[in-house]
Symmetry: C2
Subunit: 475 residues, 2 copies
């Protein structure tokens, strides 16, 4: 003990090094635990998904454990495990897509493989491997090339892969295995059992619907742009020092970052739309829900996000000694920004609650009116005192970009109206009574629906068994 | 014949329907052929890749055809075919990533599986399936959850999948198959043979390097922005009716579309960078080439593309009766736009030829000078005649966005200088002589390098064995 302390000075370098390793290790473990916690908290469905995969695997492994099942399928039970591991995806759509692709590709390629095998046996013992080799080469080459077709890649990529695999296995292994039909039957049934296990667990235990995710993503992205525009309105006018903007400036960072994720949402949106195409009707989504329309909306939303990116550079551009003219322009910019934000908020809420957007047009009209007022002020500017261009330039640029944003929002609104029509969104109370409306009213009388009067909208929001969220509660 | 013609009027509907089917079919076939041709022409490496997959499959199917090989491996030869189909990807990096992931995951999971199996046998006949079931469930659940970690998903996603698969197969099948070690040995060797076949064919026959593609993509994206800015300069000033801009306006559509693809390049860039990480040194790329730096450049380039998106709305905004003041602003905007375009062109060429960017700073300085001139004109505007705000507003907005673009280009230039430093790009002739330079000079004397004097750049470009392209030939 004494020696240790006497040597402490000399060996302090190596000593700290030794204590640093467990310290570092501890830090790593803490970091890892926090990361794990965060990933789980961000989306608790991930934990459920992991458990679902574990459950599916445990279920199919019964093929090996129980003698009656094992006697029926033998080593082919392996294919059930393989199918579950490879096919079980996060969303129902992705799982279904892989299951159906795997199933049909296996059937088709199996049949073709047996045909090729039969054809090859006609060529004699020497010709058989040559013909089979040529067939495998040709089929693998053309199928691989097919995977470069965008339409094939989007939906049937996995199917083509399994097609090549199964054809090669059947055609080639058939050369040795005589009971090819029995083998094919065993494999097919185990693959079917594996796939069915995945589908049932995926759909009936905490399902993650790609369609629902796409729907929520579209709404959330529009909401993010709305938050930016509303925050920008406050922030841009803050040089007058009103209190409300001071509060808002604390959250500047969060709303400044929000729109950036919108810019990169394309890949996620496209894969979700592809998976949603495979899903059966679920929740509020019918079988032929117009998923493609979400992609169109996505393109417009990203265009709008681009304008916002250009706008974000002006968030802190405030005139030093604002002239009356400059204040007027600023005020109008703020009005356009706030009204545009409200229009987008309404559109986001309309998608979220699947109701026809009702207040959007009013907000768009308000922002257009403000833009027109701005234009007329600029026109009449030559009759006023000479403006200091350097001072008002940022405001002019902001105004101009905001006018572009209004145009963009008009397009988004149009696109969402189209979606509303195609997907039969509920109408608001102002419109004429549709058959669906009548049905809702009947439901109302039967006492399972509670009406909520939204002051802004004068709409009757419907809440059925807790599946439909109402936006009025968030206001 | 006569009856046909007499009935023609009556049956014209069904008749045209019958002829329409082969017509429609023919049209479909023609369309399909053209599509196939286009996909092949767009990137002829796709045809080569398809043939490579066919070749690899044919090679590994020899396991079944030839008795000596078949006797050694038996049905395990199937795993070689499975490995080739699943592992062979378009780029070398992706193939290597899958092969290494598969290899290590199989080894690790195999060892763990045997351990689990041994542990389970200690629990007696009744306890064995229970313990194995619990182990499979726990391992599958935690591994599946690991796949949600971004760092795992990026590089080891496939490895984790194979890990779950192999562990389940080994642990579960071990319950029946006694010669588990021999089976594992057979499977491992066939998987190794399949993977080795893929790697060799992928690297040595028309290799598609993800790194090279990422490098080219970065250069091409910057080039697209440059083309837009240069075209925009011409187009924006075309209200004066000079001939050169009339010629340019024909290509408006093509350069207007170019930058749009840049906005959506994120997903491609990221996957290429991930695959490039796995690739050995090749061509002009060393082992530790800074692939991450390309992603940083990509972010900045997309930001710039966003500003360009905002700019593109003003491409046709020309004043009706341009005042002298307006023309002056326009002229300066055009100058900024052209110089920015040249700066980006130089940066794109620098990446492409892997030389240190040399003329960029001059062009950036020129555009900053023009921007400053513009600012001073705006400052002095109050002393001039009163400007018509409505008329000059588009030009002001364009000027302001262009100034943002200059800032963005400065950042891109900085980032490319960083890349140039990390990746040891060649220096130009102006700089001090580095050891590499000295080596190049020695090569020059040995007569295998031909010097090309670029008038703009005063740089000595090096061409070694035709692997290095020179941009001066494209000018």
């Amino acid at each position: 003990m004494e020696m240790d302390s006497s040597n402490q000075d000399k060996s302090s370098g190596s000593f700290s090094c030794i204590t640093a390793i467990p310290g570092k290790f501890k830090a790593k473990v803490v970091e890892f635990t926090e990361k794990t916690k965060k990933i789980g908290q961000d989306d608790p469905r991930r934990i459920a998904h992991s458990a679902k995969v574990g459950l599916a695997l445990t279920l199919v492994s019964f093929f090996y454990y129980f003698r009656p099942l094992y006697d029926g399928f033998g080593q082919a039970g392996m294919w059930a495990i393989l199918t579950v591991v490879v096919v079980f995806e996060y969303t129902v759509g992705a799982t279904l897509s892989k299951c159906l692709n795997r199933g049909f590709a296996t059937l088709l390629a199996g049949a073709l493989g047996i045909g090729a095998e039969y054809l090859a046996t006609l060529c004699g013992e020497k010709g058989e491997p040559v013909l089979l080799g040529i067939l495998v080469f040709l089929l693998a080459t053309t199928s691989t090339f097919m995977r470069f077709f965008p339409s094939v890649k989007r939906r049937y990529d996995y199917g083509v892969l399994i097609f090549i695999l199964t054809f090669s296995l059947v055609a080639v292994s058939g050369y040795r295995v005589n009971q090819i039909i029995q083998l094919a039957h065993q494999r097919l049934s185990t693959i079917l059992i594996g796939a069915a296990t995945c589908i049932v667990i995926s759909i009936f235990i905490c399902p993650v619907w790609a369609g629902q995710d796409l729907h929520n993503l579209a709404s959330a992205n529009i909401e993010k742009l709305a938050t930016f525009l509303q925050g920008f309105g406050d922030e841009f006018f803050s040089f007058l020092g009103d209190e409300c903007s001071v509060v808002a400036s604390k959250d500047v960072k969060s709303f400044l970052q929000g729109y950036k994720t919108v810019l990169n949402a394309k890949a996620t949106e496209e894969s979700l739309a592809n998976f949603a195409w495979w899903e059966p009707c679920h929740g509020r989504f019918k079988f032929h829900h117009p998923w493609k329309q979400y992609l169109k909306i996505g393109v417009l939303v990203r265009e709008c996000a681009c304008y916002i990116e250009a706008l974000s550079g002006y968030i802190n551009s405030k005139p030093q000694v604002p002239s009356e003219f400059s204040i007027k322009i600023h005020q109008l910019c703020v009005k356009i920004s706030l009204e545009s934000g409200k229009a987008l908020k309404d559109l986001a809420a309309a998608i979220k609650n699947m109701v026809h957007p009702c207040a959007t047009d009013t907000h768009i009209k308000n922002s257009i009116a403000a833009a027109n007022e701005l234009k007329s002020i600029l026109e009449s500017s030559s009759s006023l005192a000479k403006p200091d261009l350097q001072e008002i330039m940022p405001a002019l640029v902001v105004a101009s970009i905001l006018i572009d944003i209004i145009k963009c929002i008009e397009k988004i609104s149009e696109s969402i109206h189209e979606l509303s029509g195609k997907a039969h969104f509920k109408n608001n109370a102002n419109s004429t009574i549709t058959p669906e409306k009548q049905q809702q009213k009947q439901l109302l009388h039967r006492g399972i629906v509670k009406p909520i009067n939204d002051a802004n909208c004068d709409r009757v929001a419907i809440e059925i068994h807790g599946t439909c969220e109402d936006n009025s509660s968030k206001k």
